[in-house]
Amino acid sequence: MANLTVVTTIVALPFVAAVLSPLLYRVLGERTGYAGALVAAASFGLLATQADSYGTVRASWVPALDVGFQFTVDGWGLLFALLASGIGVLVFVYSARYMHGEDGLARYYAALLAFMGSILGVALASDLVLVFLFWELTSLCSFVLIGHYTDDAESRYSARMAMVVTVGGGLCLLAGLLVLSVAAQDALGGVTFDLTAMIANDEAMRAALRESGLFVPALVLVVVAAAAKSAQVPLHFWLPNAMVAPTPVSAFLHSATMVKVGVYFLGRVRPLLMSPEWVLLVATLGLLTMTVGALLAVASTDIKELLAYSTASHLGLMVAGFGFDVVYGGEAGTFHLLNHALFKAPLFLVAGIVAHEAGTRNLDNLGGLWRELPITAAITGVAALSMAGIPPLNGFYSKELLFEATYEVAHEAGGVAWLYPTVATVASVFTVVYSVKFLGMFFGERRAPLADIHRPPVALVAPPALLAAAAAVVSVAPQLAVDAIVQEAVEATAIGEAHLEAGLPTHFSPPVAMSAVAILGGLAAYPFAGRLATAIGRGVDAPVPVRPRGWYDWVVSTAETTSARFGPFVHNGLLRTYVTWVAAAGSLLALAGFAATRGALGIDRLGVPLAVAAVLMIAILAGVAVTTAPSHVVSVLTLSILGFMLAIFFILASAPDLALTQLVVETLVLLIFLLVLQRLPSFYSDVRPLALARDAGVAILVGAMAFVSVLLTAPRPDADPTSVATYYTEQAVPGGGGTNVVNVILVDFRAFDTLGELLVVTVAAIAILVLVTMRTRGEETVGDSEEGPIPDGGDSP
């Protein structure tokens, strides 16, 4: 059984370190990176101790909604968490050297540490609210990290783009989680956000979702969230832009961890949401992304951009794997998560080394680097060929599993389903092309003159070398990795029994043929990579509608101009405009809320005594009279009739204190009006019909809102008093010594409230004093400088 303290420590440790990192940076300087590596190593070590103690631990947080700090340790979460902390160690070591001499390192390490904590949180949390919290935290941290170079406009643009896309997806996730929790109310017999319980009762959950017609919405919301996070088509465009971040960030966030959160979560809810709709949506989405990503990677010339598109493509492979409802699908997704991290993270780190040492990231200028960077070339060889899926490297095994999944699904369903294996094979052809293209920068002849290429320091080479070595180990003995962790991860994401056996194929089968076609096709197509890239580039440069990034720019700029226009419209500096919008919007929201939750009005309750009816009729007549009054004084006086009628209504409803208050306040207001009216002109200005109609509409809306609210929320006249009311009535005399319950509540039971209200009144008085003082002063200075006052809300130069 997992230990709550240990699990909490694993997640909390990076956050604590993040908070302390400005201090650490002051003490350690650039060696903070090594401290970060220590923290990551500590989390990794603690995780490793949990390997044999699967289970769920929980501490209560919001008991009324059954929200808790609930963490589940299982194979799938552990695999992801180990990857995040393990690669974290290497990335921190690499950063310490790579970020040498840069500014803002304290912020950089703080964000990186907090990011690692969030990823560990997502991996281990099994309460949906907690998952959402950590999920959004990863987006926030990545925003800070992508925008690391705050002076660079492109950096800011890309950070914002990543933020808009991933946080927008996060909102979909929130909606999806709420739908799931609503369904859990029917399926599990109570409000809960407990994901483990939902997955354990997946059939009941699916039935409840189907019954309420929420299955497809929940599925779509979760998939959109995962697609935004994992850069699936058509939301893939933010990932290459995010490459403006420092290279260690790209390696960590954009290949090994954050972008995999979506894939991870799909794997997590796969047993819960598996259905024909799931297969259609997720598998299609994954294969489409796999193809589009591979095509765009072939067309890129920047090495980081190539890796970014390739990452999108491989994420598509994992998503597609999880999309298929056969055993091989889940195995492909799970195994490829590990393999991809092992070959893509070193490739990013290599890209960083090349950019650092050669001074360029343009593939057209790079060639023959193996002479200067032999170790880096060796690392790249292992990783890039693994990315291409060349046997016997590790990428081959998981891709083979996907081929088997597509073949099996197509074989069973037939017809259009044969598109699945076809598309997977075609995408793999391009995968081989861009992998060889990436590798090509180390071989052949130098294509452009480069400055002296230094030998990279050990701290830069060791992390990718370690990762490549790990990839090599998995390549040579895949069953070792499977036994260690992957098998248990497969079980956590599988539907039913699954037993993963990885190894080189021993006999000829359709998937083997697909692999052969992909590899041979890719090698054959490589010489034409240039022409392919031109063709793809022409497609990318097509008019806006096919370019998602064009859509993004359009949406953002339209939102900006619209809000710039909308702002002055809603708050133009005139108090009456503010009141109109606030009153109308508030009333509409309240009414919509009632309409959504309460349905029809209960008119049957409108039993009104004759006296009350008479008083209220007079009040209504007074209200009408106010609108037709010929002068200010008359309208104030008729308004007072309305107020006094309300006081009488309170007396009739046996609320003498309220009536007294209403009477004295009404009197005071009347007097104040009279005091002020002496100074006002005695005529009404001409009213514009349009403004009149608007005011009447707002007034009716507010009135309707108040009426409906009272009707629906007030207790019935014959209802029993609430427990609070009973308490006050019973305790007034013995507890406060007074028989006036209202007053006893004000001065005895809830004196603190009264104190607060007195402070409000005091602040109001002081505010008015100050405002009047300021106004006279302002007028004096304005008069002196002979400049008009700056209009409220306007742009001051």
């Binding site: 005071l668 005091l675 001065v747 004196a751 008085a765 009047v772």
Partner: protein, 154 residues
């Protein structure tokens, strides 16, 4: 509004209103009334004077003091008195809350005692809440009159 009818009416009604407001304030703990209602009613009485006469009348006519016409509303002695009332009220409220803490009760704890053998009334209940309510009364009177006098002077 400074008609003779208005002024005569105000002369008669203001004392009655003031007495009524104090009565409402004192009986608040057991019958309808209390610090807030009493405070608002007192304010109403003062505003009546303002409507019928003006801000300076309290100084010159009631207190028979010299009024310096040059001073702005903030240095006006009446307004300063209102501000002092406001602060005094806050002090009374907080003081009555803290008083309980001196004998070990939580902040704002109130208590009451019955005193027997008083002439005419026989049995009188003395509640510490009345002190709190007095603070409420003072704050309401002070703040409302500050606001009204400052705004009306504008």
């Amino acid at each position: 509004m400074t008609t003779t009818i208005m002024r005569t009416t105000v002369r008669v009604t203001v004392p009655i209103v003031l007495v009524l407001s104090i009565w409402l304030f004192l009986q608040g703990h057991n019958l309808p009334g209390g610090g807030f209602i009493g405070g608002v009613l007192t304010t109403a009485a003062f505003v009546l004077i303002y409507v019928a006469y003006d801000l300076d009348y309290l100084e010159s006519g009631v207190l028979d003091r010299e009024v310096n016409p040059g001073t702005s509303i903030f240095e006006h002695r009446t307004v300063a008195a209102y501000r002092r009332t406001l602060l005094l009220g806050l002090a009374v409220v907080i003081g009555s809350g803290v008083a309980g803490m001196l004998v070990g009760d939580p902040f704002l704890t109130q208590t009451y005692v019955h005193v027997g053998g008083v002439p005419i009334y026989h049995d009188v209940e003395l509640a510490s809440a009345l002190v709190f309510d007095l603070g409420v009364y003072l704050v309401v009177v002070g703040s409302l009159l500050t606001i009204i006098s400052v705004v009306s002077a504008e």
